[in-house]
């Protein structure tokens, strides 16, 4: 009888210790170094195998049984809030709090005392947690002094319970659990590669995975002549052009184009990059225009025409192309001007824009803004009335028929212009023919890709494609 009630008490004690909430503390002092390496991104969003660091920590908190999670940051993390939102996607309730750079962990707990009224798992600092989704971390809080403490140079895992001292957790004998430091870009690289090579089964990773070591995202285009060697991971909207060699050990993020002849081995290409032609990427991390050596951490920025582009230059405004454009524009103009003028009478939606020409001078154009609201506008779209109205600019030689999407003559546009050599604005653009929406992040990549790979037939395809997509 007595024995029974005793064990009941002991059980309750363990129950009480089970963390119900997780507090993830990210301070600039420990994670800020990464901002110097990978810019425009909160360090917490650093992808490991195409999944942000914080999402691993979130997954682990859920495995531990947490139902509420709070991110505490001393600098705003808008990307983090946009990505995780209120946590409904993961079935956990997420909130956010700010701390000051001078706060200690005790101060932070005090500031979040309402949140931490129940046993709370605390992941403090900038670290990766090695765990396995197949194991159980319910008994995490059992005290096991014989196991190593879960702490490293840049972070630690603790448990907080009201009325008890804050305690660093210990590892588990039966389950995999470790806290790995993130103190240099090499740490991020090593962990990513290790996951891809040998522990990809331990985590929930993005992409379609029907054989070991291969993860493929949505909307991936792989050329026939591409050679792929396991293990590889491809994100969404990845294009692998002809004669590319991918892997072994390639982690390619979303919205990436790898252009012809380039090889990528033991490397990480972070989201939204265009890797030019005939390059050899080995043991590197590529982030937009920066290449970082995984071994030494040395980084170089490519200031070239195209993001990370190779050596190919495209000659500006070649004569034959100009003539063909001009002749085509003439044809279009003659056949399209009468219906266009009729539509013009029906629609009075002319807007004047100032755009940048290829030489950086500004040019005012009056364009029709056609939405798909009314039947007339839809018809006008189908007959390319908005394009026909711009044809006089082509005939006078100020714009190309097919070219880059014009940059607006604003400070922003001029910045883009300065960063984009071989800019040849045209009234038909590649990104439009690919049905990429205006302002989409893919637009820039597509435009640069187009500039790097201009062919005569490509220009015609752009016209035909624009036409067919509108139909």
């Amino acid at each position: 009888m007595t024995g029974n009630s005793l064990s009941l008490v002991a059980q309750q004690k363990i129950e009480e210790w089970r963390p119900m909430k997780a507090l993830i503390v990210m301070d600039e002092a420990r994670c800020g170094w990464l901002r110097g390496v990978i810019q425009n991104n909160h360090p917490g969003m650093m992808p490991f195998c195409n999944k942000p660091l914080l999402e691993y920590l979130l997954d682990f908190s859920i495995l531990c049984g947490c139902e509420q999670l709070r991110f505490v940051m001393d600098e705003p993390g808008d990307e983090i809030e946009d990505y995780f939102d209120n946590g409904s996607k993961w079935g956990i309730s997420i909130s956010y709090a700010s701390s000051r750079a001078s706060d200690t962990l005790e101060d932070i707990l005090e500031k979040n005392s309402t949140f931490c009224d129940e046993p709370t798992l605390i992941i403090d600092g900038f670290c990766f947690i090695g765990y396995s989704k197949n194991e159980d971390y319910d008994s995490l809080s059992d005290h096991r002094p014989e196991e190593p403490q879960l702490r490293c140079g840049s972070g630690q895992m603790l448990i907080h319970q009201h009325g008890e001292p804050l305690r660093v957790l210990h590892g588990l004998a039966e389950s995999r659990l470790e806290v790995l430091p993130l103190e240099a870009i090499g740490d991020c690289y090593d962990i990513s590669m290790h996951i891809l090579d040998s522990t990809s089964g331990e985590y929930v990773l993005p992409g379609y995975n029907n054989e070991a070591g291969v993860f493929i995202g949505r909307n991936v285009t792989i050329s026939k002549s591409t050679t792929i060697t396991k293990p590889v991971m491809l994100g969404n909207n990845v294009q692998l052009q002809e004669n590319t060699v991918i892997g072994p050990g390639a982690i390619i993020g979303s919205n990436v184009i790898v252009d012809t002849g380039t090889s990528i081995e033991k490397s990480i290409i972070i989201n939204n990059s265009y890797v030019g032609t005939e390059l050899k990427i080995k043991k590197k991390i590529i982030h937009s225009t920066v290449a970082i050596s995984a071994e030494t951490g040395t980084s170089i920025r490519f200031v070239d025409d195209h993001l990370l582009s190779g050596l190919k230059q495209c000659a500006p405004r070649k004569m034959p192309r100009l003539i063909v454009h001009w002749v085509l524009a003439c044809l279009f103009f003659v056949s399209g001007i009468i219906p266009a003028l009729l539509f013009q009478l029906l629609l009075k939606k002319r807007e004047t824009h100032t755009i940048l020409r290829h030489n950086g001078k500004s040019l005012s154009i009056a364009s029709l803004q056609l939405s798909s609201n009314s039947l007339v506008e839809q018809l006008a779209r189908i007959f390319l009335v908005d394009k026909v109205m711009l044809l006089p600019h082509v005939l006078s030689g100020r714009l190309d028929l097919v070219g880059n999407k014009p940059f607006p003559a604003t400070p922003d546009g001029e910045k883009q212009y300065a960063d984009f050599n071989n800019y040849l604005p045209g009234i038909f653009s590649f990104s439009e023919s690919q049905s990429i929406e205006e302002g989409d992040f893919q637009e820039e990549i597509a435009e640069r890709y187009f500039s790097a790979n201009r062919r005569f037939w490509g220009d015609l395809q752009v016209i035909i494609k624009t036409f067919t997509t509108r139909w």
């Binding site: 005939e278 390059l279 050899k280 990427i281 080995k282 590197k284 290449a291 050596s293 030494t296 040395t298 980084s299 170089i300 490519f302 200031v303 070239d304 025409d305 582009s309 190779g310 050596l311 230059q313």
Partner: protein
């Protein structure tokens, strides 16, 4: 972009410094035409060469092509980490022989 040159037997040793990019590649090519009138074996000391871009690399390659026609070569020495990485990514290190020191590069011609 600055150039210092000295001669060791029939080898012309050029110290490159600064940036070899779109802005300076014309100057480099002009200079190179002058140098190649008197020599076909080059060692480029890249100790103070901070940066190369694709245009700069293009002009190096043009130079290499021209010298190779005359049975010469361009060999690079003391390349810094950033330039080294650039050469590696663009596969230019397959074409150029790169040495740790200028002496080794000069010695490699014999």
């Amino acid at each position: 972009m600055n150039f210092n040159q000295r001669r060791e037997n029939d080898i012309l040793i050029i110290d490159l410094s600064g940036w070899l990019d779109a802005d300076s590649s014309d100057l480099f090519q002009e200079q190179f035409d002058i140098w190649s009138e008197s020599a076909s074996k080059f060692v480029f000391n890249c100790k103070d060469l901070e940066f190369v871009d694709s245009t700069g690399l293009g002009s190096l390659l043009l130079g290499l092509k021209a010298t190779m026609k005359k049975d010469g070569d361009i060999r690079l020495a003391t390349v810094n980490e950033k330039v080294q990485m650039f050469l590696e990514i663009t596969k230019a290190n397959d074409i150029f022989q790169i040495f740790d020191t200028v002496e080794n590069a000069v010695a490699s011609y014999t």
